[in-house]
């Protein structure tokens, strides 16, 4: 699984970096950013889904790797 943030939608609510701090961080203006390459280790998948489901702007995008 891979996570990305759609910068057009993100408004910096910070739910992603609250709920999954190992996957997301904030930039200097509070917008969310993906840490590293966005590849989610298997034990991080649940946190990734919770972050995506709580982002008020639906800006967290999950893609399942084939």
């Amino acid at each position: 699984m891979k996570v990305t943030i759609d910068p057009q939608r993100c408004q910096g609510h910070g739910r992603c970096y609250d709920l999954a701090p190992e996957l997301f961080g904030e930039d200097d203006e509070g917008y969310g950013r993906v840490l590293g390459d966005g590849l989610v280790p298997p034990d991080g998948e649940r946190a990734a889904r919770v972050a995506a489901a709580n982002c008020p702007e639906k800006a967290v995008v999950l893609t399942e790797e084939a």
């Binding site: 408004q11 910096g12 609510h13 910070g14 970096y17 609250d18 904030e26 200097d28 203006e29 509070g30 919770v50 489901a53 709580n54 982002c55 008020p56 702007e57 639906k58």
Partner: protein, 420 residues
Amino acid sequence: MTVDDRFTRDLRQDPPTGTRNEVVVGPVSDWATDFSHVEPEWAADPYPILDDLRDRCPIAHTGRFGGGWLPTRYEDVAAIAYDTERFSSRSIIMSNYRPPLEIAPVGGVPPISSDPPFHHDARKLLLPAFTKKAVATREAATRAFCHSLIDSFEGAEVVDAARDYAQHIPMRVIADMLGFPPEDGPRFREFVESALEGVNLPPEERMAGMDELFDYLYTQIRDHVATPRDDLTTYLIEAELYGRKLEPAHVAGTIALLLIAGIDTTWSAIGASLWHLAKTPADRERLVAEPGLLPTAMEEFLRAYAPVTMARLVKEDMHWRGVDMKADDWILLSFPSANRDPAQFDRPEEVIIDREINRHAAFGLGIHRCVGSHLARMELRVALEVWLERVPVFGLDDPSAVTWAPGQVRGPRTLPIRIG
């Protein structure tokens, strides 16, 4: 170096032009056609009204306030928050006065009153001071202050959790950030009440209240021009946009916004959370036993008792999702109603403190997302942590004595809690 003389003139603004309508008060005949968010029935409990309207309208109308609409579904609230082309933030408090069109896109209190493209630039100035990381530096002082408030309960059996606890926390935090004297707290409360609660007062009274607020702010600003400090007021005095320092009215308007938006809202969120816990022993006991659940529970309190409703003005006549909107009609943008829409949330009327999926809109949606949301969450979490640690057992002393603020920011204003 040139002297900064932007604030030396008499900056009282001329009486605004804009348009006024007749003030209509009194009991509502039918909420679908005559709603009013400032009547006592709404203040006491708006949720049954909103639930009923969502089933039967779902966009209610009123002739009061010169005409306005109340969308109640999450989907409609979100669509309006995102559509800054057709809905303007020129005024965000639904009242009997509409400011003149010329004040757009800046508005009186940027960035909340601003429309694109100006909005983004005004907002950007504020963001760095309000990141999660930046507000974390205030946590220790906030915690110490909460403890000092609880210390003052010593010996009391009943305290007013709204008046003696919740209100002081955001007042102190924002006074520190702006570099205002902490002892001016009682004046902040007057400013908040006149800006947000007096919407049906005669216009002269409303304007006198605003003049008092701005006189106070300009005094503070001049003091900061004379003696710059490391705080937000000095930061805004020095800030530049498009290669120039800000207009005096922008500096004062933004400070007014931070003061008003920072206090009433957070005070309401802390108060509503304590009210819920005081009347729900099972939730209170669970949070005392499992403090790690607090961040999740807090989001649920924010969803279920979202303190803030905003307003917009329709830009042009249009047919929108089944209703005929006219230019300058109000939209009462109810994030509280969106947060209780069954199409968006399972069992929305229940407060479920371990609700894991909670895409609520208490801090708004789209470009105006609350700049202070990280600060507000820190304050709310610390206020509840300290309270639960120091006063783990408490309950409502007299449920009928609880009063709620009327208008667009709703939270307990009297909240007698038995602690002994």
